[in-house]
């Protein structure tokens, strides 16, 4: 197992989530070292997004503990976890549709702002200053994420798909997080765009000192960018290690392609049964 260049920024201990009778995530323990890029992979329905939702406070783990930046954040409110320095994007883009790109990124800085009700009504000097700073920062962040200035005032619902993906990252980055969680950031992107995003993730780590945790299906991206990979299947951690170790792990191959013997038997019997999906 390769160690990152620092201590663990985020750690999950025996995290479990049960929905009714369904165990979505079972007893997962893992660590994200500071300034590293770590991936979680697994077939559809493996519990990756549920796991993400527990880390960011949207779900409270049924059992287990999440520690972030030296603090126990299990069951902490999502907006406070965000304030602690953990920002995320969503698998299905969840922008504030009728707000402009700029406003979306300004909302992202909400946790860093101090303006209150009366200060906002009276527009006290410090509120006006804060407002200008936040807008300035939003513009910088949008440009940094590669969104053209002509799109800043566009309603986010009207942006192109690629720009919406970039805007989600910009919105998360605006709060200066320590850890960025990306839930399938390259979904729906073509190979060139995916490659550009891979480069962008490295830049984020090197220029901004960010730690990145991503869920990803595109193996090209995962193998190219990750230092460490955790594989989930049916809610359980079935393997972890460097890309090389994971690629050759028998259980991982089995999870993605089915058992060798079974597969041959199936192929012989009928061709209609599709194998487990997911590219390797």
């Amino acid at each position: 197992m390769s160690e990152g260049n620092g201590t663990a920024l985020l750690s999950a201990e025996n995290v479990t989530k049960v929905f009714g009778g369904l165990v979505a995530v079972e007893d997962v323990t893992f660590e994200v070292p500071e300034r590293s890029i770590v991936s979680i992979i697994g077939p559809n329905g493996a519990g990756k997004t549920t796991f993400f939702n527990m880390l960011t406070g949207l779900y409270r783990p049924t059992y287990g503990r999440v520690r972030f930046a030296g603090r126990n954040v299990t069951g902490r409110r999502p907006d406070l976890i965000m304030k602690d320095g953990m920002a995320r994007t969503f698998q299905n883009i969840r922008l504030f549709g009728t707000m402009t790109a700029l406003e979306n990124v300004m909302v992202g800085q909400n946790a860093r702002m101090r303006a209150g009700l009366f200060g906002s009504i009276l527009r006290l000097p410090h509120v006006g200053r804060e407002e200008r700073e936040v807008e300035e920062k939003a513009r910088e962040t949008l440009a940094y994420c590669g969104i053209a200035e002509s799109q800043f005032e566009q309603m986010s619902i009207n942006l192109s798909y690629g720009d919406q993906r970039r805007l989600e990252i910009a919105r998360a980055l605006a709060s200066d997080p320590k850890l960025l969680l990306l839930d399938e950031p390259t979904a729906g992107m073509n190979p060139q765009e995916s490659a550009a995003l891979t480069g962008f993730m490295r830049r984020l780590r090197d220029e901004r000192g960010l730690t990145i945790l991503l869920i990803e299906h595109d193996m090209q991206v995962v193998m190219g960018v990750s230092e460490h990979i955790t594989v989930l299947d049916h809610g359980q951690k079935i393997a972890e290690g460097t890309p090389e170790q994971v690629r050759t792990n028998a259980r991982v191959v089995e999870a993605y392609l089915g058992k060798q013997g079974e597969k041959e038997a199936e192929a012989g019997a009928t061709r209609q049964q599709p194998g487990k999906e997911g590219p390797v």
Partner: protein, 442 residues
């Protein structure tokens, strides 16, 4: 649009045939309507000129600014052209008070997207505050001698509690803000329709409380006067001004106008602030908002609190203006009436809500009872139009939803969403819609 008209068109100036015909028709309707509701014809004409200028020079910032300033001046000088005790000023004053409420409800429903069907509760609490602190209701106060604070003659000598109008407004703001947050608490874990049901119940609870309050006695003092109502309520008495009377309505109008101005200012400031953005983010996607650092509880409670405070302010004013606080004023239909103003004007649109409030108020207080009331009997039908008031409002809303779902003056966001956003094909929606488009692309 004919070719000649298009050729004549200069950039930013709208003079195509359709616009001109609409404006001409508008003039006829405006003058006829003004005549019916006893509005000064000259002032009605000026109003039409302002609208026409704005329509023709629709791209000019200077024209917009000019018409807005002119409109403000118009609103201030309007009473000088009207009969001081006449029906028009009476209705106009009430319309302005209801505008304050509509602007308050707009914060809750339009900005934060929390459907509130019990807004009447805040009107009731505001009016009750006026009943408690501006009348002879608490007859035992001060040992039967009465207790007064910063009010002038007759009130200061009467039994009961008599506080200055502005102080009562402050008290009402505190009371209704707390009530707003209390109603907010049980709805925090709820979404959409369920919020509507809880707020509906809250409105009913407060309504019942006012009806039955005459049997709730605390320390020898009844809570309310039930259906009989607390009356009379002190007239507004402001330092430096002659005491207000029921015969001279101009000062009432100006006070109401000033309240609208203050509330308007607060609305604009809040909309363009950190809090306003948080409200809209909440309306768009609660989960994403929370993940982006918007504290859900605090943001929702602030929406309820500020929205409720405006209801309370208007309640105090109406208590004093109508000279009575009785249970029949606080019915469920009132909540719907205010909500209809917000929807008709344009959810979330400050300008639209003002227009919606004024239009619906005049339809309710003037057009239906005074102008069109006997029309059914003229064609041989045996009923008054007032009996159909809410049917008419419902019909208007249906027409609006079909022809112009975004409201009379739509909020910029909703306009884009309804006319350009959805259906342009190149978009992915938010929330549920986003999921499907993602599936389609993945």
């Amino acid at each position: 649009m004919t070719k000649t008209a298009a050729a004549l068109r200069r950039p930013g100036v709208k003079t195509d045939t359709r616009t001109l015909v609409a404006l001409a028709a508008g003039l006829v309707v405006t003058l006829w309507m003004a005549d019916q509701i006893e509005m000064d014809l000259f002032m009605a004409f000026v109003l039409w000129v302002l609208v026409a200028v704005r329509t023709i020079f629709h791209e000019s910032k200077a024209a917009l600014l000019g018409t807005l300033v002119a409109l403000a001046v118009w609103a201030v000088v309007l009473p000088f052209f009207q009969d001081a005790g006449g029906g028009f000023l009476e209705d106009a004053t009430q319309a302005l008070a209801l505008t304050v409420m509509a602007l308050g409800l707009n914060i809750i429903v339009g900005f934060a997207g929390l459907l509130d069907l019990g807004y009447v509760a805040f009107y009731a609490l505001g009016a009750l505050t006026a009943g408690w602190f501006m009348s002879g209701f608490a007859s035992s106060a001060g040992g039967g001698e009465g207790f007064s604070l910063l009010v002038g003659e007759p009130a200061s000598n009467l039994p009961g509690i008599h506080f200055n109008f502005l102080m009562v407004i402050l008290i009402a703001v505190v009371v209704t803000t707390i009530a707003g947050m209390l109603i907010g608490l049980p709805t925090l874990r709820l979404r959409g329709d369920y919020i509507a049901i809880v707020t509906l119940a809250f409105g009913e609870i407060v309504g019942r409380l006012v009806i039955n309050g005459d049997e709730i006695v605390i320390g020898g003092q009844k809570l309310t006067n039930g259906r009989q109502g607390i009356t009379p309520v002190d007239k507004i008495d402001l330092p430096g001004l002659a005491p207000f009377t029921g015969l001279e309505l101009r000062p009432w109008y100006w006070v109401a106008l000033a309240l609208v101005a203050v509330v308007l200012f607060v609305n604009y400031r809040l909309r363009d602030s950190r809090l306003g953005r948080a409200w809209i983010a909440l309306r768009e996607d609660e989960v994403a908002a929370a993940s982006m650092g918007v504290p859900l509880v605090k943001t929702k409670l602030l929406a309820y609190g500020t929205g409720a405070a405006f209801g309370g302010i208007a309640g105090v004013f109406l208590g004093s203006y109508l000279n009575t606080v009785n249970a029949d004023q606080f019915q469920f239909s009132f909540s719907i009436f205010i909500l209809a103003m917000v929807i008709l004007g344009g959810l979330g649109s400050i300008e639209g809500v003002i227009l919606g409030a004024i239009v619906l108020s005049f339809i309710n207080f003037n057009l239906i009872p005074d102008v069109f009331n006997d029309y059914p009997s003229k064609v041989g039908l045996d009923f008054d139009l007032t009996e159909l008031s809410f049917g008419i409002f419902g019909f208007l809303l249906v027409i609006m939803m079909v022809l112009r779902p975004e409201g009379l003056i739509p909020e910029r966001r909703r306009k884009l969403e309804l006319t350009e956003g959805v259906g342009s094909g190149a978009t992915t929606g938010v929330g549920g819609a986003g999921e499907t488009s993602y599936e389609a692309r993945a």
